[in-house]
Symmetry: C3
Subunit: 226 residues, 3 copies
């Protein structure tokens, strides 16, 4: 009974996150002038690659995103909507960023739960939760031959990791799964939202061998505050 309930919760979380992530994939694909097929591939990849990578790594094959048609349908819907109404999606930029933060939280906690269910140790389960959250965006960027934005800027993965840590710690001390899941997703969302509003960033190291034209603003990163 409880198993079943957990499963339904995980499915609902996953599908919601998939839709908003797929929007980001479709938007990026349109900007790079992909054709309709390319845009739909980017939608599916951005929405599902994180979860697929997680499932392949923990041995849950075929991955959930391929075992049913739900994830595909949700991804294609996001892609088609974006393709025919890119201006509309663009006007929704700020709401989409909000939803993206929510999707990040949902994916991180759902991915962590699943990795724990498959017997991974807590530290790696949290990392796989983070991978679930950031893997789609990384795949989207790599398909477009861009260095993944998550590796360069912003507090994004750390927010996912914080949410995942809540799930792992809550599970270790046997708190109720539902409460822990909600708390983890909420923490991730809040961190991501604050990071966006305040422009929080991680430090960048000084390159001992800078290229020809060192940008002057590169000087300010002393690597001190997190």
């Amino acid at each position: 009974m409880k198993e079943h309930w957990m499963g339904t919760l995980l499915l609902a979380l996953d599908l919601s996150g998939t839709f908003v992530f797929a929007l980001s994939g479709a938007t990026a694909g349109i900007k790079k002038r992909l054709d309709l097929f390319g845009v739909l591939v980017l939608s599916f990849a951005a929405g599902n690659a994180g979860g697929i990578a997680r499932d392949v790594l923990i041995g849950a094959v075929p991955p959930a995103a391929l075992a049913t048609w739900y994830y595909l349908a949700v991804s294609l819907l996001a892609g088609v909507v974006t393709f025919w109404r890119p201006a509309g999606i663009d006007r929704l930029r700020n709401p989409v960023l909000l939803f993206d933060a929510a999707g990040l939280g949902l994916f991180a906690v759902a991915g962590t739960q699943k990795a724990l269910n498959f017997g991974l140790n807590p530290v790696m389960a949290a990392l796989l939760g983070m991978l679930t959250g950031i893997g789609g965006g990384m795949t989207r960027d790599l398909f477009l031959t861009e260095v993944p934005i998550v590796l360069r800027a912003d507090i994004y993965a750390l927010a996912a990791l914080a949410g995942a840590a809540v799930v792992v710690i809550g599970s270790a001390v046997r708190l109720p799964a539902t409460a822990v899941t909600i708390a983890g997703a909420a923490l991730c969302f809040a961190l991501r939202y604050l990071a966006m509003c305040r422009g929080w960033r991680l430090p960048v190291a000084d390159d001992p061998q800078p290229p020809k034209t060192p940008a002057p603003k590169d000087r300010k990163d002393d690597g001190g505050s997190l």
Copy 2:
């Protein structure tokens, strides 16, 4: 008995497709000035990455391409031939495009068959058949840090999907596997051939925020390049 026959058919299809796809990988690698090892890696990747991805996703590990040395040998042969006779392969550009269309059809139906055999639902089996067909070329392009051509131009993946759909539908209504396989591969080949001859393309969306130099129309670049 029938199982065995099916297995032999799948193997023959796979190896034929592997060779022509490996040619495309080797050609691309030589154009990017890879060394001999790089060219052989590109040959193997272009010929096998689609099938390997499919096998990892459906849980058929080790993937067929790694379980025997056949696929490796066929890929290396294609790579070596291309490496020492690039001009010869280049002169065969049109035949190679034809063989590539044939390989696409073979991979799509073989991949769909295998996914069905592993119990995937029909919609996702067709998608995995398509992935089998396009995965090698995508990996080839990504290794060379190019946005996969299949996401940008031409009717390519859709032809594979149409062939895969024939297999899935034929299997659902219990038509003979051989007939269905041939019909699917033929449909894919025909669609791809027509798309090349007539320059069929998928639509590209209007970008709501075009970059600095907005092109008034879609770039007419590189239709049908391998």
Copy 3:
């Protein structure tokens, strides 16, 4: 007993190689101006992606690099050290190249051993050993949207392949595993070291359709009837 000993040997080899490879990932990430998180991801990827790919392909999931926290800890340590002391690591460039050659040998033989243990045939086991050695560096380069250096220059993968071949052949003729492992790693290290010192390179093919600036020697492709 012997199983246990083998396992400990493999673990020690893997962790040593992981650290030096992670250094290369962190250094590359810093050069591309990734933030701290990005540098740590590159460290982990460069140190572990080869082994993870091998484990996924042979069905050893969750991969060893995710089953314990050892690999993560070693990778993060390398990343953090490089991040806060990039100048120090840079001064150690030559030692690091030496350690990288040692890591390559260790990974190649350990990867080959593991693939043999999982029942792969000798040829493909050697290839998977090579993949273990070069997969991390390839992933590092692809994350930074560069054509993997291993495909373009130097004798690197071939050295790994030679070491892997020693393990495969030694195993086939039932020589003691320890001796074979050491001999394979030593051969790989020696080849890689010589290749670095003497600038050994693999041939690059003539491109039949050179880009804008055709080198004069590209002209010689005349007589190749296929």
